[in-house]
C-alpha cells in the first residue's frame, strides 16, 4: 500500500463576507439536502424509512418550491431506489439516494454492484439499528455491513460537516482515479433530526470547488455504444477486482487533495481522515465515530480539569481506513479505548467492528498501545459523560500498569 503523507489542515480562514455565505438553523438531513441543491444533483431516488428519509422530505420541498431542479423518483423498494440511481449515474447524471437500517440491507445487491461498476453514486445513511426487534435508534451496523465492497464510508458529527462532506464526497467519488460510490453516515435522530446553525455556501463558491460529473468514455450513450458489465467469469474478474482495489487506494490521495482545496476555499473542513481533540500530550485516547463525539469531548474536558491527560480521536473516514493517521496520532499514548456504536458478534476479540480495525491498523506500529473495546449506545441509547469518564479511567489504570481486558469488550449502559 502506498501510504501517503499524513495530511494536516492548511488553516487559512477566508472572511465570511467574501464567500457570500448565509446562515440557517437546519437539521443534519436538511443540511445534506442543501448540499444536493448546491451540487446541482440530477437524479434523486427516495423510499421511506426512518430516520434518513427526512433528507428526501427536504429535497422534495426544495423541488416543489422551484429552488432545485432534479428528477425526483419515489421508488417502490430500496432495491429499486438504488438501482434507479445507479443507472442514472451510468448515463452521466449526478445521482443521490440513501437509506437506514434494514432498508439499506434490502438494497444490498444494488449497493454491491454499484461499487463493482465503479459508479460514483453518493448516498446518505441515517444510521439505524437493524431489525429484529424493531428500533429506530442509531447503530452503525447498517452501513458497516458494506465495508468490504469498495464504498467510501464516512461518519459526520455535525450538520455543517454533513453539508461540507456531501460536497467533498461528490468531488472524490467522481474523480476518475476513484470512481467509487460514497456513503455519508449521519447518526439517526442525534444528527438527522437535530438542528444547528449551518453556513450555507454560495453556488458560485461550490462551483469553484466541485467540477461537473464527467463519466468520460464509460458513459452509456448511443454515441458511445459500449457494453457495460458483460459476463466475465474467471477469465477477467480478478483483474477487475484489482482495479477496484487500486481505486480504493487512490481515494486516499484524492481525499487529501479535496480537503486541502476545501480548506483553502471555504476556510473550514479540517483534517481529512481524523479529528484530534486534546491529543497533543495525551497519555490515553478514546476513539469513535459520529455524534458520540459530543459526550466524549465533554468527558475529556472534565478529566482534563482533574489533571488527567486524556484525548480523543474521531474517525471521519472509515473507508479508506486512516491507518497512517492513527499510527501517527496514537503512537505516543499508552492505552486506546475504541467506542463502538455497533457489534461484531463472534469476532476475533469479541469487540466492535471499529475496535477490530483500529487494533489491526495499530499492530505494525512502533510502541503500539493497548487497545480496549467499549460497546455503547446501541439502538440509540445515550452514551453519557459518566460512561465515557469511566472508560477513560479504565484506560488510565491500564496506562499505569493496572490490569485491563484486551481480549474481550466492555459493554456500557446494559441493564443487568
Amino acid at each position: 500500500m502506498s501510504i501517503a503523507e499524513v495530511a494536516r489542515p492548511a488553516a487559512a480562514p477566508v472572511p465570511v463576507a467574501k464567500r457570500g455565505e448565509t446562515e440557517a438553523l437546519v437539521s443534519g438531513s436538511e443540511a445534506v439536502a442543501h448540499a444536493l441543491r448546491l451540487a446541482d444533483v440530477d437524479v434523486i431516488t427516495a423510499y421511506p424509512i426512518r430516520p434518513y428519509d427526512t433528507v428526501m422530505q427536504y429535497v422534495s420541498k426544495l423541488i416543489a418550491d422551484g429552488e432545485f431542479d432534479c428528477d425526483f423518483i419515489v421508488a417502490e423498494s430500496e432495491h429499486s431506489q438504488f438501482e434507479v440511481a445507479k443507472h442514472a449515474s451510468a448515463v452521466g447524471a449526478r445521482a443521490f439516494c440513501g437509506s437506514s437500517g434494514v432498508g439499506w440491507l434490502y438494497a444490498f445487491e444494488a449497493i454491491a454492484v454499484t461499487a463493482g461498476l465503479r459508479l460514483p453514486l453518493v448516498a446518505m445513511v441515517g444510521n439505524r439499528a437493524l431489525d429484529d426487534p424493531g428500533a429506530f435508534g442509531t447503530e452503525h451496523n447498517d452501513a458497516l455491513a458494506v465495508r468490504d465492497l469498495g464504498w467510501l464510508l464516512c461518519w459526520v458529527d455535525t450538520a455543517q460537516e454533513a453539508l461540507d462532506t456531501t460536497l467533498i464526497a461528490y468531488r472524490v467519488a467522481e474523480d476518475h482515479r476513484v470512481f467509487l460510490p460514497c456513503a455519508i453516515n449521519c447518526d439517526g435522530a442525534f444528527l438527522t433530526h437535530s438542528q444547528a446553525i449551518v453556513k450555507l455556501p454560495s453556488k458560485q463558491l461550490v462551483d469553484s470547488f466541485l467540477p461537473r460529473y464527467d463519466r468520460g468514455d464509460k458513459r452509456l450513450h448511443p454515441d458511445n455504444p459500449v457494453t457495460i458489465a458483460p459476463q466475465v467469469n474467471e477469465d477477467w474478474l480478478m483483474e477487475m477486482r484489482r482495479q477496484n482495489d487500486l481505486a480504493a487506494r487512490h481515494s486516499r490521495d484524492v481525499l487529501i487533495e479535496a480537503y486541502a482545496d476545501f480548506n483553502a476555499k471555504f476556510g473550514r473542513g479540517g483534517e481529512p481522515f481524523i479529528e484530534r481533540y486534546m491529543m497533543d500530550d495525551a497519555e490515553v485516547a478514546l476513539v469513535g465515530m459520529g455524534t458520540l463525539a459530543m459526550p466524549v469531548r465533554v468527558a475529556v474536558r472534565n478529566l482534563r480539569k482533574q489533571g488527567k491527560k486524556v484525548g480523543f480521536v474521531r474517525i471521519r473516514w472509515f473507508r479508506p481506513f486512516p491507518s497512517p493517521e492513527l499510527q501517527e496520532a496514537l503512537a505516543g499514548v499508552k492505552a486506546v479505548g475504541v467506542i463502538d456504536r455497533d457489534y461484531a458478534f463472534g469476532s476475533p476479540l469479541m469487540g466492535g467492528v471499529l475496535a477490530t480495525d483500529v487494533r489491526s491498523a495499530l499492530y505494525p506500529a512502533k510502541n503500539r498501545p493497548k487497545v480496549v473495546s467499549f460497546i455503547a449506545g446501541l439502538g440509540g441509547r445515550e452514551i453519557s459523560t459518566d460512561n465515557v469518564m469511566d472508560m477513560a479511567n479504565t484506560l488510565l489504570d491500564a496506562a499505569g500498569g493496572g490490569k485491563v481486558e484486551e481480549q474481550d469488550s466492555y459493554w456500557y449502559g446494559v441493564r443487568e
Binding site: 423518483i73 429499486s80 438501482e83 434507479v84 440511481a85 449515474s89 447524471a93 448511443p222 457494453t227
Partner: protein
Amino acid sequence: MLDTKQNIGDFTAPQALDPWKGIKRIAREEYFTSGHRTCQGCESAQVMRLLAKAAGPRTIVLGSTGCMYVANTSYYCTPWALPWMHTQLGSSGSAAVGTAAGLQALMRKGKMTKEPINVIGVCGDGGGADMGLSAISAAMLHSEYNLLIMMYDNESYANTDIQTSGSSPYGSHTSFSPPGKAHRIMNKHWKKNTAAMIAAGHPECKYVATVVSTNPLDTLNAVRRALSIGGPTFIHSLDPCPKGWDYDPRYSHEIGELAVATGIWPLYEIEDRKIKLYGETKRIAEGKLKRKPVEDYLMRQGRFAHFNKDDIAYVQAKVDAMWQSWVIPGVLPFAAADGAAGTK
C-alpha cells in the same frame, strides 16, 4: 443511414418509428450481431435481434440477468452494437427508469445534447414475471419517461438449469419439478398472465403486446409501435427454448406457431386501453380458424412427455375455458358477477 426520424429538440417526445409494411421494408442494419453464445434454435436471441433492429441506433438497452446476459453477452465478444448495460435480475424496470431519468434530467438542464433516445429494459420470465415484477410495475407508472420493457419468456429459469418460474406451464418438467414415482405432476400452478396484468393494473401504460418471434414482422412492428407511442410500454414474447422445452432446435419456429394455433398463446395489442387481437389469434376469435388440440403442442416437447391422457385433458379444459368463459378470451379471466352493481 439512420432509419429513425428524430425529433431533435423535443427530447421528451418519443421517436417516430413507422411500421414496416412487409418484409422487404425491414431495415437491413443489424444492431445485435455475432458474438452471442446462446443455444442453437434459441428464440430469445432472435427476439433480441428483432428488438435491436426495430429500435435502431439511437437506443440504450438494459439487460437484466438471465440467458440474454449470461449466455448472450460475454466480455470481449459482445453481440451488441447498441449501448448495453447489465442490470440485476429484478431490476429491468428500475434500470429503464434510471436511464430515462438520467437522460431527461441531463437534457433538460442543458448538460447533454437534446434528442429522443429509446430506452429498453430487457428481462426473462424470472426477471420479469417473478423477481422484477415490482420494479416493472413501478416503471409502468412513470408516464413522464419513454421506456419499453421487453420480457422474453422461455417459461423457466433456462440459464441456471431450467428451474420452475411463475411462467412455467402446468405440469412442465423442470429441474425443480421432475416427474417422480410418487408425484407425476410437481408444478401445479397455471402460468402467470403477465401481459394482461401489466395492462390492467397500470392505466398510464399506453401499449402492451404479446408476440412470438415466429412472426418476425409483427414482433418488429410491436417494438416500433411501443417505442413510438411513448410513456412506459410492455411487450411479452413467448420464446420456445430447445434446451428447456426439450425438442430438436430445428422446430423452434414450428412450436411457436403451435402455441398460437392451439390458443395457448393469444396474440394481442392493447393500445390506449383498446384491445386488438391479431394474427391467427384474431382468426380463431372470429371463428375463421379452429383451435388445434393442445396435445399437438404438448406432445412435441419433452417437458410434457410424462403427461397422461388426464393431464392433457386438464390442460385442454383450462385452455377451452380461456376461450369460452373469460370475459376477454385469453386475456382477462374475470367478469362481473350476475347482478353486480354497475354492470350490465
